[in-house]
């Protein structure tokens, strides 16, 4: 049991801070699609009606030949978008219909990239990928997910014998540490299935490249690469014969896809070989009512069906890959499941903070006051406060800047302000008293999240609550503000009711335990009294 606790603590501490970032950003990222709509600025005088999907595709493929090889079309009645791999930039480029002027020329209009930034924070801690074959941030998070899985299994073994007792044990019994411990245990037990899903699916997605490389090297040999492509691609690569074709209208493509799969709700289209007779179109979306809901209808340019992949009509590989994604993203059960994921994500953040705090206090109790536990406690508080408040400021920058002359810097500012606040708060946390720092951060943080919907209402008026996606995101931000307020209230209550651990109150180092708890002061006083 002792070794299980040690293992649980080791993997928990090693992965806790990264998991906090992933879970807090991930809770917001559950509403990634809605956030994409929220981040678009709304001006009182809107420009003329943007072009439709067909004209957008014509303009993009004319102006950017790379897009003809492979592009993704994001259907939207108001502002459809196209995404393609631009060889000159060696990066994916997104263009929306509203980015084209009246002459049909693409103007590189600055856009908010908040939703993508939150997504990157979630799956790669915001570590940029410089185009390497292995995405470092994502692989790192995959490894973190494996350690998180080990922590979960060891946590289950530790708590299994006293599971029922701990389920109802959120009390402090005059001891701040007991409160953190019980909070950690209760959240861990209640949300264990959710965390198990997140760790396995997160590790499967994050470690995919590494596992595939090792499987190839150790087990299946060089043939594996081709087999993976064959088993996971919806259709084979285009082998052009040089014959061109007039592309069908996208409305007809969508009708043809629905003809093949009537229950399909379309999310995006992939077009390979635009204008090439050997090309194909993959209409991708969902069939509601299934956990593994992903579906594809692959059509040739004459709208002849090539392949249908849907629940009940797919290989075992597709049937097992689809739930990996949907269970991770929580997009299989409508708004209710997404809200559940949001709540569990926020609770998960609390799980990792409480785990780290527990470790620091336990280590300090075991080995005496030491710099390492004091440092980790301060670092934990600094990173957590930095991430929470930094994300709020990214939201504020995303809403504010498009209405100022600095609109062109919006995407950079969203990332810049986050990094700046994170660094500042980590530096501050390393110098300040943890108790005072936490109190101050918990006082500021709810107001930061409260300010975001208010700012949008001031800048964009009723658009902030009349448009469904805006309303939803703003309500979620208010929910985050309320959650932080509850954490603050609980934190203050505990301070009033129980003496905090000495680690929380100022300098704690060898030979310099300046701040003693009441019990320690009483013990010292009793000792000196008896000596006299």
């Amino acid at each position: 049991m002792r070794r299980m606790i040690d293992l649980h603590a080791w993997v928990g501490v090693a992965s806790g801070l990264a998991l906090f970032v992933a879970f807090f950003a991930g809770a917001i990222n559950v509403f990634h699609h809605e956030l994409h709509h929220w981040q678009e600025p709304h001006f009182a005088e809107q420009s003329a009606t943007p072009m439709g999907m067909d004209r957008l595709l014509e303009q993009v493929t004319e102006q950017y030949p790379d897009a003809r090889k492979r592009l993704y079309l994001l259907p939207d009645d108001e502002d459809p978008g196209v995404m393609w791999l631009e060889s000159s930039k060696d990066d994916w480029v997104t263009a929306h219909a509203t980015d084209f002027n009246a002459q049909g020329v693409h103007e590189d209009a600055p856009r908010s990239a908040l939703a993508d930034f939150i997504n990157e924070l979630h799956f790669a801690l915001g570590i940029p990928n410089p185009g390497w074959p292995i995405n470092i941030g994502m692989t790192f998070m995959g490894l973190i997910s494996v350690m998180y899985g080990v922590a979960l299994f060891s946590g289950l073994l530790i708590h299994w014998p006293k599971l029922r007792k701990e389920f109802f044990a959120l009390k402090h019994e005059g001891n701040m540490r007991r409160y953190w411990k019980n909070l950690h245990n209760v959240i861990g037990i209640i949300s264990f299935p959710f965390h198990l899903i997140m760790s396995v699916t997160g590790a499967a997605m994050g470690m995919f490249t590494v596992v595939a490389l090792l499987l190839g090297a150790l087990v299946f040999g060089p043939q594996l690469r081709g087999v993976i492509t064959e088993q996971t691609e919806v259709w084979s690569a285009v082998e052009s014969q040089g014959n061109s074709v007039i592309m069908p209208r996208m409305d007809d493509v969508l009708s043809a896809a629905r003809n093949e799969l009537p229950e399909l709700t379309v999310d995006w289209l992939e077009i390979r070989g635009y204008g090439d007779a050997a090309g194909w179109i993959d209409v991708a979306g969902s069939v509601p009512g299934y956990v593994g809901h992903h579906a594809h209808v692959v059509l040739d340019p004459t709208l002849g069906p090539l392949r249908v992949i849907a629940p009940g009509q797919r290989s075992l590989n597709f049937a097992s890959l689809s739930p990996v994604y949907s269970l991770h993203f929580g997009d299989y059960g409508g708004l209710l499941v997404k809200l559940l994921y949001f709540v569990l994500g926020l609770l998960g953040s609390l799980l990792f903070v409480s785990g780290n705090i527990l470790w620091c206090e336990r280590r300090s109790d075991r080995t005496g006051p030491g710099r390492s536990s004091a440092f980790l406690l301060r670092l934990t508080l600094g990173i957590c406060a930095g991430v929470v408040i930094g994300i709020a400021f990214s939201f504020l920058a995303s809403k504010l800047l498009p209405h100022t002359p600095l609109a062109g810097l919006v995407a950079m500012a969203e990332r810049g302000v986050f990094a700046l606040i994170l660094v500042l708060l980590v530096v501050w946390s390393l110098r300040a008293s943890p108790l005072r720092f936490s109190s101050q951060m918990l006082r500021i943080a709810p107001f930061c999240y409260l300010a975001i919907p208010l700012l949008q209402a001031v800048l964009e008026g009723s658009h902030a609550w009349l448009e469904a996606d805006n309303r939803l995101v703003n309500l979620l931000l208010l929910a985050v503000a309320a959650s932080l307020w509850v954490v603050r209230r609980q934190f203050r209550k505990r301070i009033r009711q129980a003496e905090p651990h000495p680690l929380w109150v100022g300098k704690v180092s060898e030979g310099d335990p300046k701040h003693l708890a009441d019990t320690e002061r009483e013990a010292d006083a009793a000792a000196s009294h008896s000596a006299r």
Binding site: L7, S199, F208, L218, V219, F220, I228, Q231
Partner: protein
């Protein structure tokens, strides 16, 4: 150090064990690749957990090394590498 080495050495062993299962099962290995990936990840987590159980540090790590070697040798006796597709 023990936990770190445990996590590191458990990965190839879990992959090779899943490979051995793929060689034994009477179905084409490429038909259930995604399940192999998920099973390997879960097995990796469980192996890393098992390494922490014994009281002494080195025996479980040596067992992992020996296990890796044995699994690799056993894989050489299967037709998987390069000819299974």
């Amino acid at each position: 150090m023990r936990y770190f080495l445990g996590v590191l050495l458990s990965l190839p062993l879990s992959l090779m064990l899943i490979g051995l299962v793929a060689a034994v099962l009477p179905m084409p290995w490429h038909g259930w690749l995604v399940l192999q990936l998920i099973a390997a990840i879960v097995l990796w987590m469980l192996l890393a957990l098992l390494v922490a159980l014994p009281a002494k540090t080195w025996p479980p790590l040596i067992a992992l090394l020996v296990g890796n070697l044995a699994a690799w040798l056993a894989l050489q006796a299967t037709p998987l590498y390069g000819v299974g597709a």
